[in-house]
Amino acid sequence: MNFPIEVNNKIIIARKGETILEALTRNGLKVPTLCHMTELNPTGSCRMCVVEVEGKANLITACSHPVEEWMKIKTHSPRVVNARKTNVELLLSNHPDDCLYCDRNGNCELQKFAAELNIRERRFTGKKNKYKTDPSGSSIVRDQAKCVLCGRCVRTCDEIMGVSTLGFIGRGNTTIIGPSFNRQLNLSSCIACGQCIMSCPTGALHEKRHSADLQHALHNTEKHVVIQYSPTLSISIGEELGMKPGKDLYGIINAALRKMGFDKIFDAAFAADLYIVELAAEMEKRMRSGGMVPMFSSDCPAWVKHVEQTYPEMIPHLSACKSPQQMFGAIIRSYYTTTFHVDIDNLYTVSAMPCTARKFESKREQMTQKGISDVDAVLTTREFNQFIRLNGIDTHQLEPEISDSPFHVQSSAGKLMGATGGLTEALIRTLYSRLAGKEIAQPKITEVRNVKDYKEYYMKIGEFKLGFAIVNSVKYAEKIINEIKAGRDDIHFVEVVACPGGCVNGGGQPFSNDQNIAKARIKSIYDNDEKDPIRFAHKNPAILDLYREYLGQPGGEKSESLLYTTYSKREVSL
């Protein structure tokens, strides 16, 4: 039911049951919000969206109050603006005041409010809370001093991710946010997905930066710097350069990296193909030899940590395959260095990923050879963007180039892994070929191409009737795990991505308020799949070369020693 309400002396049409904020937004009226998160119930803690409603003694929050027919609303009256301004000034009065040194400088919601509300003087001065930063996590750094306690990270961690690492601690003006018992992040149940960073309006949460280290290596003539970048990057950096969301900049990245002076530039979609081939081999082996099924995907390091700490009894279900990043790291360190006669001591491998958990993954004990990590540094998409700017590359003047051989060919199957359901689709294509002995007629599997929280797909391949479960965000994994424990046996493969929507929405992606951005990126992935000449991981000629020249066969002895890993139970404070 629609009805008119009066806003700022003009009539707008509101819908029954929606909040004032929704009605205003739909009618093109912007009210600032800080703690508000679309999809989640309003908490009303920041009081930024207050509006004046005639007949109400106090200002009311637009985000939580349902719109009613009698309402006469003023969204920017002097009383309202003064209230918002005072509240922001109060936040600033307990803020470190060091914008120029802040990770979020130029990209901070608090800064934006201060500018919009024209705050030009420190009216409130007084004691500020002093906190130390927590640099203990290998992916995420927390700086309580910059926290405005909007609670978005807490709700993201709890309500969206279902991990519940972060929570409020203490009361009043000494309230802080932290893991349980206010212990350090590295001892906590944090899975390093980085979604909290994405939700943080200020610099209170950010990734652990590896770019300075990389800059040193890059300019050290003795170092042989190799970069692998995720295919998700090429569809994620466009917006910052003023392009349409989802625009594929595949060749431009290669050109930019080459200009910066990287010795070798590899697209990690190659490693994704390798992962799919290995995964299909492992899957077949498990199916044929009565191994532990269902097999859980192992490409998402946040998911892997979640299993290790929350469901340690399910560890045997995890695929033994390393993630694409670590497979590539291992291949570069072994095959690449021997073939191209690179001194292994001077090798510096960088990976650029839309992910924060990859930083943690690269530091896993199992991912090292003789104490040295296969991947030396991991950049997030945000760091990658910044790194391009730091090195003064004008991407607008670059012509597309291709990545370096011998890993210069990628199939579109590996690139699907950026979206939820993509791994399953790519796996089915290769698995079909292995189990049925022929190629699948229709490689496009529409049923797995959506961003539902949980979906199942059944398919008969050769003699097997296989069930695939696709879990979008770790929050929804609990159900299927409990069912498996209870004896459910019609599911053979479980794909889990920690971040809702998949890697396109990873914790290392550029900040954005646009809800549709992840969808645009997913669309770009699927569009690419339609027009790519190679749509099967096992048909990638570079992959075939690698097996012929070095690895032997998928799941072979060499693969097992290089590309397989182990997991162990983790004791964390839950």
Partner: protein, 643 residues
């Protein structure tokens, strides 16, 4: 000395031999219309215990043991006259109950010696309780003749301090649980709501929402389950009415809870009170157990098919948990922080179900309304505020304690007629009503009456029901600072205006009342600017805070600014505190004529602000002096003075 003892039962105690034959006899014994042996009542509520009632109790028991006297020793709640604690009442067979105040282990024996021999001691006698059938003591006032009680109308506190709170039988003998029987036997839920609506009962917690209407909204919300919560999270400094009811007459509250739950068809009720109210928790739990044993709780209550269980929840003492949504979160096991309304608890509250949250006093009124009818209740009080209100009267008043007066009584009557006026004949400066989020009213508000509308208009609120009387020795700026400090500690930290604003408010006030560590030339300007900010800040906090606590947090500051502005100005511009409370503003100096140069002050001064050599007069360097007053206290020659 002739002492009544077990062996030689004197003529006065004849009833003991008559035996109990009928129910009426039993009831009259429980009502103590008569006693068969001496009954000694000792008020062992928290207020009594603090005053030493437990020691008195031990002494009395020891006395009876030694003298081998057969007497009932009954522990009661608080009668409200806290100034006289520990209170001991004695009722001898055939005689009216007589009350003694300030009974210590030392004088207990002396008092008992007298009274058990039917003589009246000269001291410590308060009054006697009139009773038609019993013989009065000569020359002793009746309890309702003393001013403290004369102007009160005790409805909620009727039984407090009189009955044994641990005995359900005594409560029943005085008409307890009759209202419940009537409700369950005769009335529908709808009818109960109607009765309460007709009575005009409004919530005693703060906002004053009509109780009957609240119940009806909950009753009419279609859901499979509803909850009733009794909010006993009384956390205001200077408020202790709920505690008195828990400790003095728990069954009255329980009866009210059961009736309310019946009215909204709740199967489960929660009573939330502070864990630090140890005795209250203990007596309440016992009372619930007794009520359940008597069939008033549990399955199929009195054969009506109505089921109810009462759960006691102990809060950890956060002030904000008195706010209903925070209280609900706390019961749910979450952080005690409020959430936005709507949805209101009455439609979506505890565990997402319709929930009525009522104050202790509100619910304690319910059995009386059912018993005497809505028109009786509506006849008390003013046009919009019906019934009585219990206040905790404290501060610089002669008789502190708990008073229950009709709505519409003036502050003057409460403070002067009941409270006996200001201590030491000083002048009244302010009346602080409504707890820490209430207001400070000036002397000319004395004729304001206590009802919802007048109080709201005066910038105060019924709130907790605490009345703190302040005399001219109180600094209003310091009071504002004290409450700002209280609130910044009690803010839950969820919303920005309350969390950050209350702290800044406190700091601004601190700047005014204290001496800055580094005095600079522009400090007066800074302080002045601070006060300018203070008003804006207070307005914004009131306008935008999430919950009732935040919205009312600036009340003490705003009211102090409104009524006592000149004191703020004195503090800011003259650096002078007229009541001498703000230590930092005191300027000490040494009277040259009186100083003998003993060097004592010089040696004791913690900041080295005093200079001088032995046997010559000393001086205080003002810039270094923190105003601690040590020199003033220790000078043997009274040479140190305050400006």
């Amino acid at each position: 000395m002739k002492i009544a003892s077990k062996k030689s039962n004197p003529a006065g105690f004849i009833l003991a031999d008559k035996g109990i034959v009928t129910d009426d006899d039993r009831l009259s014994l429980l009502r103590r219309d008569t006693v068969v042996k001496p009954a000694i009542f000792i008020g062992t509520s928290t207020c009594g215990i603090v005053a030493g009632a437990l020691d008195t109790l031990v002494a009395v028991k020891q006395y009876l043991e030694e003298k081998q006297i057969d007497a009932d020793v009954v522990e009661t709640g608080c009668s409200g006259m806290c100034i006289n604690e520990p209170v001991m009442d004695v009722q001898l067979p055939g005689k009216q109950r007589i009350s003694f105040g300030k009974v210590t282990p030392q004088n207990a024996g002396y008092l008992l010696d007298h009274i058990l021999n039917f003589t009246i001691p000269t001291e410590n006698v308060i009054a006697q309780y009139p009773h038609g059938n019993l013989q009065a003591w000569e020359d002793i006032r009746n309890i309702n003749e003393i001013p403290f009680f004369r102007f009160q109308n005790r409805v909620v506190l009727k039984n407090c301090g009189i009955i044994d709170p641990s005995s359900i039988e005594e409560y029943k003998a005085r008409g307890g649980y009759k209202s419940l029987s009537r409700v369950i036997m005769k009335y529908s839920s709808d009818k109960v709501c109607e009765i309460i609506e007709d009575s005009g009962l409004r919530g005693r917690g703060g906002g004053g929402f009509p109780t009957g209407r609240k119940w009806r909204i909950a009753l009419n919300t279609p859901e499979d389950e509803r909850y009733l919560i009794c909010n006993g999270d009384e956390s205001d400094p200077g408020a202790f009415m709920d505690r008195a009811i828990f400790e003095g007459d728990p069954h009255k509250l329980i009866e009210g809870v059961i009736i309310a739950a019946y009215a909204i068809r709740a199967k489960r009720a929660y009573i939330f009170l502070r864990a630090s109210y140890k005795l209250a928790v203990q007596r309440l739990r016992q009372a619930i157990k007794d009520a359940a044993a008597a069939g008033y709780l549990g399955q199929d209550i009195m054969g009506s098919g109505f089921n109810l269980n009462i759960h006691v929840r102990e809060g950890a003492g956060a002030f904000v948990c008195g706010e209903e949504t925070a209280l609900i979160a706390s019961i749910e096991g979450k952080r005690g922080t409020p959430h936005t309304r709507p949805p209101y608890p009455v439609t979506k509250g505890l565990f997402g179900k319709p929930t009525v949250v009522n104050n202790v006093e509100t619910l304690a009124n319910v059995p009386e309304i059912i018993e005497k009818g809505p028109s009786w209740f509506a006849s008390i009080g003013t046009a919009t505020s019906k019934g009585t209100k219990v206040f905790s009267l404290s501060g610089k008043v002669m008789y502190t304690g708990m008073v229950e007066v009709d709505m519409g009584t003036s502050f003057r009557d409460i403070i002067y007629a009941i409270g006996g006026g200001i201590k030491s004949h000083k002048r009244l400066k302010a009346i602080q009503v409504g707890g820490p989020t209430g207001s400070c009213l000036p002397e000319d508000s004395l004729d304001e009456t206590v009802d919802y509308e007048t109080l709201t208009k005066a910038g105060a609120m019924m709130g907790s029901g605490g009345i703190v009387v302040m005399d001219e020795d109180t600094c209003m700026v310091d009071i504002a600072r004290f409450f700002a400090d209280f609130l910044q500690h009690e803010s839950c930290g969820k919303c920005i205006p309350c969390r950050e604003g209350s702290r800044r408010m406190h700091e601004i006030l601190q700047n005014i009342t204290q001496r800055p560590p580094n005095a600079a030339g522009y400090e007066t300007l800074e302080r002045f600017k601070g006060v300018m900010q203070l008003e804006n800040l207070a307005d914004v906090i009131r306008d935008t805070a999430l919950c009732g606590l935040g919205q009312t947090a600036p009340n003490p500051v705003l009211s102090a600014l409104k009524y006592f502005r000149e004191e703020f100005e004195e503090h800011i511009f003259d650096r002078h505190c007229r009541s001498g409370v703000c230590r930092d503003l005191k300027i000490y100096y040494i009277n040259v004529d009186k100083c003998s140069g003993c060097t004592l002050c010089l040696r004791k001064c913690p900041t080295g602000a005093i200079i001088g050599s032995p046997h010559t007069p000393h001086f205080i360097i003002e810039e270094k002096c923190t105003g601690c007053g040590i020199c003033f206290e220790i000078c043997k020659f009274v040479a140190v003075s305050v400006k």
